[in-house]
């Protein structure tokens, strides 16, 4: 009796040691405790059983889509499954803020998805972690597919000589102007140049009652359209230095204009935090102009159905051209996927004209140059597609998040009057160069 009890205790503790060792070692070669019963070590390793019937292959697909996009995506999946009876796509939705941590933890645990729709700025980061399949190597038809996509969004997949994804959708930001406020001030059209923009912003400002211009925060995405339109650059084309770029004369002029607007009370203080959001403020007549993306149509349709949304291109800079910032998402295939062929088939399908046009019905801008001009595209896409021709991508670099932080902090310091625009951007250039040197 007594001996038996002891054996139970011992066996179970050894089983635990065995299980822990088997699951903790990063390598399957980690030696098991010699005294541990062998079955405890074998248990977690799952051998493919040959008895399984030739079932459907499942491709998992993670994303951060809106309700409207999910509805359209369900139809796209149905179209795909009809064409590929052996593959089924299982999509999972995440909140944008949780997505990166959810992906990382599941990939680290070996439970990651086969494919995902990643924010374009994350692709170099995940590529650097060696989490992604280089699609230009793995897909024999990569060049043909890539040739039909817009070059800007495609470039965001490039990291150290390879393409780690394909663009799935794209977007950019344009100017939104509140026509009622413009009419009331006797201004007939949105500003076409940056000089006009600064003037109109101040004309339409009335103390705390109304601001000519408002932005959502100081993170780079917010000033980026004006920054790029005024000829600003973060780093050189070869991504080797920020010196003479983020602190060059064009970049300084862009941030100087924004800082002046803020100091003159023409730019709402909400961008420093704790104020009224740009979407609500614009629709309720507090902010005459904001800069935002195509999703605003759906947001206003739901929250302010009577509000008339008016888009215009970003005003032109000193050289007479407009520009903005490229946003959007890329489709990637994960290195740890056991269904890479099926995952790539799904990737191919997402870049077909039928899939792209289906998503466009719900406000998602296509990435294929071949569908531009298709009569089924919504009218308001026009201004965005035009803006996309000159919109620029943020720096495709794994440390982009930190670079964004450096510019964000510089912008904060100049708005708070702690540094001049030049001083703040000189410091940002130093910080970005340190990141590039790592």
């Amino acid at each position: 009796m007594k001996r038996k009890e002891w054996t139970v205790v011992m066996m179970s503790s050894l089983l635990i040691v065995g299980l822990v060792l088997a699951s903790c070692g990063p390598t399957p070669t980690s030696a098991p405790e010699p005294t541990a019963p062998s079955q405890a070590v074998e248990e977690p390793t799952k051998a493919p059983s040959p008895t399984e019937a030739p079932a459907k292959e499942t491709v998992t697909y993670w994303h951060t889509m809106s309700d409207a996009e999910v509805e359209a995506m369900e139809e796209v999946i149905a179209m795909f499954e009809a064409e590929h009876p052996n593959i089924q796509v299982e999509m999972t939705r995440y909140a944008y803020d949780d997505f990166k941590s959810a992906l990382l933890t599941s990939l680290a645990g070996g439970e990651g998805p086969d494919t995902a729709r990643l924010d374009i700025i994350w692709v170099p980061e995940f590529a650097e972690l060696e989490a992604l399949v280089a699609l230009d190597e793995a897909m024999p038809d990569f060049d043909q597919i890539a040739a039909n996509t817009f070059p800007g969004p495609l470039a965001t997949n490039h990291w150290q000589g390879h393409y780690y994804g394909l663009p799935q959708d794209t977007n950019t930001q344009v100017l939104l102007w509140n026509k009622d406020l413009f009419d009331a001030a006797g201004i007939s059209a949105p500003p076409a140049t940056m000089e006009e923009f600064a003037e109109v912003a101040c004309t339409l400002s009335k103390g705390e009652e109304q601001y000519g211009y408002a932005m959502g925060g100081t993170y780079f995405w917010a000033p980026a359209p004006i920054f790029y339109s005024m000829g600003g650059k973060v780093v050189d084309d070869g991504i080797t230095t920020a010196d003479g770029f983020i602190n060059g004369p064009e970049s300084v002029a862009a941030f100087q204009m924004l800082t002046d607007l803020y100091n003159d009370g023409c730019l709402s203080p909400n961008l420093l935090g704790g104020g009224i959001g740009t979407a609500d403020g614009h629709a309720t007549g507090l902010y005459a102009m904001i800069v935002d993306g195509p999703w605003m149509v759906d947001i206003y349709k739901a929250d302010y159905p009577d509000f008339e949304v008016n888009f215009a291109p970003i005003p032109t800079g000193p050289d007479g051209t407009t520009s903005s910032v490229v946003g959007g998402e890329n489709i990637v295939v994960f290195d740890g996927s056991e269904h890479q062929e099926a995952a790539m088939e799904w990737t191919r399908f997402l870049l077909t004209e039928e899939a792209q046009l289906k998503m466009a019905e719900r406000g998602v801008i296509p990435v294929l140059s071949t569908v531009i001009g298709d009569p089924s595209l919504p009218d308001y896409f026009g201004v965005f597609l035009e803006q996309l021709k000159t919109a620029q991508a943020r720096v495709p670099h794994p440390k982009w998040g930190d670079m964004d932080g450096a510019i964000n902090n510089a912008y904060q310091r100049m708005l708070r009057g702690e540094q001049t625009v030049q001083e703040a951007l000189d410091q940002a250039a130093q910080e970005i160069n340190a990141l590039l040197a790592e």
């Binding site: 009890e5 205790v9 941590s101 705390e208 925060g217 009224i276 902090n409 904060q412």
Partner: protein, 309 residues
């Protein structure tokens, strides 16, 4: 029949005291397994990560960097600021919660009408979600449309300009600390109320007969008898204060402006999941754990002394 002890048994020879209680240990085993699997093992793993430049996807490619992660942290002004913010929050909210909770508990201990209502009312903040009350505080302290600015400026005329509560690294601490106090008072009050009710009425009566006024009765009878409870609250609230996270994460959008408003844990999250610096993030959690451990040791020793007296 006595079996000859096997090699394994001799190697694992256990003190007879443990052997005699073997059935108890057997029953303790399932809980212990979970404890080891879900607490001890991840903690040990995380300690290991803190010495590496960790690649979370391909751990084998991680580079051993020794104490570099810890050194970098201790030299980082953002980390020091986060520590300062967290310590200040603890130093402000813990005494404030205890004093207010004591006052509430004493009042709730009186014979008053609607006692149940007040007990529920003070406990309600405790059971509401941190996320929801943080969002409510954000609305209250909104610089353009918040109730607080409306009261201070439009109604009372105390300030001329609207105060930008959430745009300033110091002012942001006001709503964060107020929220921490408001949300915590009810819980401490209930604990103290229970302790108050355990104080024999005869002691207070005797003191009254000896001519002690209510203040002296509080000072010389009630407070000494509440000491173990107060020390217990101190331990728990300090640990809670050092683990400040949700309200800061939401109210400052993760350390805005200029990374000056981080708590230790929001910085840990940022390092780990925004910057993918898993080694640095693990080092932060280890420094925090070590600190909490030392503080708790001191406090528990304090607790033991008082009880034994």
């Amino acid at each position: 029949m006595k079996a000859r002890p096997s090699l394994m048994e001799r190697c694992l020879a256990v003190p007879s005291r443990i052997y005699r209680a073997r059935t108890a240990y057997l029953f303790l085993l399932p809980g212990l397994v979970l404890f080891v699997l879900f607490l001890i093992y991840p903690m040990a793993y995380s300690l290991r990560i803190s010495f590496y430049d960790w690649n979370v996807i391909k751990p084998l490619k991680s580079e051993f960097v020794g104490l570099d992660n810890y050194k970098a942290l201790l030299a980082d002004p953002i980390f020091r600021r986060a520590v300062l913010n967290t310590l200040a929050y603890t130093a402000i909210t813990v005494p404030a919660q205890m004093i207010l909770a004591l006052a509430v508990a004493i009042l709730l201990d009186q014979r008053i009408r609607g006692k149940t209502f007040f007990r529920v009312a003070y406990y309600l903040p405790v059971i509401t979600s941190w996320v929801i009350v943080t969002l409510i505080f954000e609305y209250l302290f909104n610089s353009q449309a918040g109730l607080i600015n409306y009261l201070l400026r439009d109604l009372l005329g105390l300030v001329g300009e609207p105060i930008r509560w959430l745009a300033d690294p110091i002012l942001t601490m006001v709503p964060i600390n107020l929220l921490g106090i408001w949300k915590g008072v009810g819980w401490s009050a209930i604990i103290l109320l229970a302790a108050l009710q355990a104080i024999p009425a005869e002691l207070l009566e005797a003191a009254a007969i000896d001519g002690a006024d209510p203040w002296r009765r509080l000072q010389h009878v009630t407070l000494p008898l509440l000491r173990p409870t107060l020390v217990f609250l101190l331990v728990v609230l300090v640990i809670g204060g050092l683990n400040l996270y949700i309200s800061v994460l939401l109210m400052t959008n993760g350390g805005q402006p200029l990374d000056l408003t981080h708590s230790v844990l929001t910085l840990m999250y940022k390092e780990t999941f925004d910057r993918l610096n898993f080694g640095g993030g693990a080092a932060i959690s280890y420094l925090l754990t070590a600190f909490v451990f030392v503080v708790s040791l001191v406090q528990i020793r304090l607790l033991r002394q008082r009880v034994e007296q």
